[in-house]
């Protein structure tokens, strides 16, 4: 017999069944469970949430935005700073002789008729409206409203200057207008692509621009063009005194046209 004494032991040992089948089933079940969990879990866990900041949107061109105003009533325009009121006597305008009166051949002109000529209506726009300071507005009467160069019913609609806002408590829209004008000067709008880039930056109290960043990126060179427009604007006017925070975060939308 050729078989060694130890051989039978070794054959028996190496033939022992292993329990791999059970763990294969276990592992497949675990994978199926994980996949099911991924499929079942709320969609917000799997994907990045795009956070939309609470913003005022002011559009200086393109299609008009939705018609919503910060203040539904605009203010009365003031074109001239009022001088100190004087107690000048009110002089009624002199009665003018009527022109183009058909001559009466038979009757003499009646002198009494001249007295009955109506005084001409005073035109409200004939004189500059005066007030304590010059401001823009569209109301005909003093409403006490906030002057909103971009907002309000007065300017809503139309191509340029369409505006819509949803921030209720920023005091000084004039500042934003000035800021956009300055930045627009450094901005190259016409690129080889259509697209929109949202930039975010912060204006310090003294008007310096810090923390410039791309908030909603688009193509690389559109991002760079937007960034250049802001960084080339090295300095802005200081924040208005009526704005009490020490810095102001701006989200600026650059819409590029081909």
């Amino acid at each position: 017999m050729m078989q060694e004494a130890a051989t039978q032991v070794l054959i028996d040992r190496s033939r022992e069944a292993d329990g791999i089948a059970a763990t294969v089933v276990l592992s497949l079940a675990a994978h199926a469970a994980i996949i099911a969990a991924i499929v079942m879990m709320p969609a917000s866990w799997r994907s990045h949430r795009a956070e939309t900041p609470r913003t005022i949107m002011i559009s200086l061109g393109g299609a008009p935005g939705p018609r919503q105003g910060m203040t539904p009533m605009s203010t009365r325009p003031v074109q001239e700073v009022a001088a100190a009121p004087k107690n000048a006597p009110l002089v009624p305008p002199a009665a003018k002789a009527p022109e183009m009166v058909e001559p009466l051949k038979t009757a003499k002109p009646q002198p009494k008729a001249a007295d009955k000529v109506e005084k001409p209506l005073k035109q409200p726009a004939s004189k500059p409206v005066t007030g304590p300071e010059i401001k823009s507005g569209a109301a005909r009467i003093e409403t006490g409203g906030q002057a909103t160069p971009f907002g309000g019913l007065a300017t809503a609609g139309g191509g340029a200057g369409a505006a819509y806002t949803d921030l209720q408590n920023f005091c000084c829209p004039e500042y934003l207008a000035a800021m956009t004008q300055i930045i627009k000067r450094n901005w190259q709008q016409h690129q080889t692509l259509d697209g929109t880039v949202v930039m975010k930056f912060t204006i310090q109290r003294d008007g310096t621009i810090v923390d410039v960043g791309v908030e909603k990126p688009n193509a690389m060179f559109l991002n760079m063009a937007s960034q250049r427009a802001i960084t080339d604007t090295k300095r802005l006017p200081p924040l208005p005194a009526a704005f009490t925070e020490d810095h102001l975060t701006i989200h600026l939308v650059f819409q590029y046209k081909r």
Partner: protein
């Protein structure tokens, strides 16, 4: 064309409102992906499932082996007769040392039974010296054979982990490259390089690489871990073989 220039302003400290989900949901991407991308993911899933099955099985096997080895060594060092140890062996059969012991014991038995004595040889007188071994080397060889068998048993299926670790990244990479090719074709067809055209395809394609890494990383870790465990067991087996030889030499020569 009117210049578009828009401005948005954020009030300092204004609370961020909860918005709906934006961005890209990869399940939707997957649903629209090609058959090839799906089959790549399926292959990767199978690799992952099988390698995890092996991982779990091996953890369980090595834990049982270590526990039985401890018990076996306690019994072995306390007993004075190999036959006592042999009786205990079936209860601790998961230990690789048991295989070595049984193999050595079988060899010893076959030598000590002295079947080769000529039938007319005089019977050994009563009180004669103990039976002696003819060849200690034969016992040593039996132990070596057993060690090889036991190490093979411990290593069984572990190489699959190495295979998984090395090829699943490549399979994933293949899926990604294929998906990016499709994206570029899409650029050509649509004539647009806008992100809307390119990004979903690339995001979809990258899922394959992620899945490949997902399968490969545990496989690499546990392959190294198990290789190390097998080395430890092999060292314990060598040690036990020498111990067994020593005892045999002392008692049977």
């Amino acid at each position: 064309m009117l210049g578009g220039f828009a401005l948005a302003l954020q009030a300092p400290g204004a609370s961020q409102p909860e918005t709906g989900t934006g961005g890209v949901d990869f399940l939707q991407l997957l649903a629209h992906s090609t058959l090839l991308a799906k089959s790549v993911l399926l292959i990767l899933l199978l690799f992952s499932a099988v390698s995890w099955a092996i991982i779990l099985y091996k953890i369980w096997q090595y834990r049982g082996a270590a526990r039985h080895t401890d018990t076996f060594l306690q019994v072995f060092r306390k007993s004075s007769k190999f036959s006592e140890v042999q009786a205990v062996c079936p209860t601790v059969k998961n230990s690789p040392l048991v295989g070595i012991f049984q193999s050595g014991y079988a060899e010893l038995n076959s030598q000590l039974r002295q079947p080769h004595l000529p039938p007319d040889a005089p019977k050994p007188p009563a009180g004669s010296p103990r039976p002696t071994l003819k060849s200690l080397d034969a016992v040593d060889r039996a132990l070596l054979r057993a060690t090889t068998v036991e190490v093979t048993k411990l290593e069984r299926r572990v190489p699959f982990l190495a295979t998984t670790a090395s090829i699943t990244p490549f399979i994933g990479l293949f899926g990604t490259v294929w998906g990016i090719m499709a994206s570029f074709q899409n650029i050509g067809v649509q004539g647009s390089t806008s992100l809307n055209v390119v990004a979903p395809g690339i995001a979809d394609a990258l899922i394959a690489t992620a899945a490949g890494l997902f399968a490969a990383i545990p496989a690499v870790y546990f392959y190294n871990h198990f290789t190390n465990r097998v080395k430890e067991f092999a060292a314990a087996m060598d040690d036990f073989s020498l111990e067994f030889l020593n005892i045999s030499e002392r008692n049977f020569t």
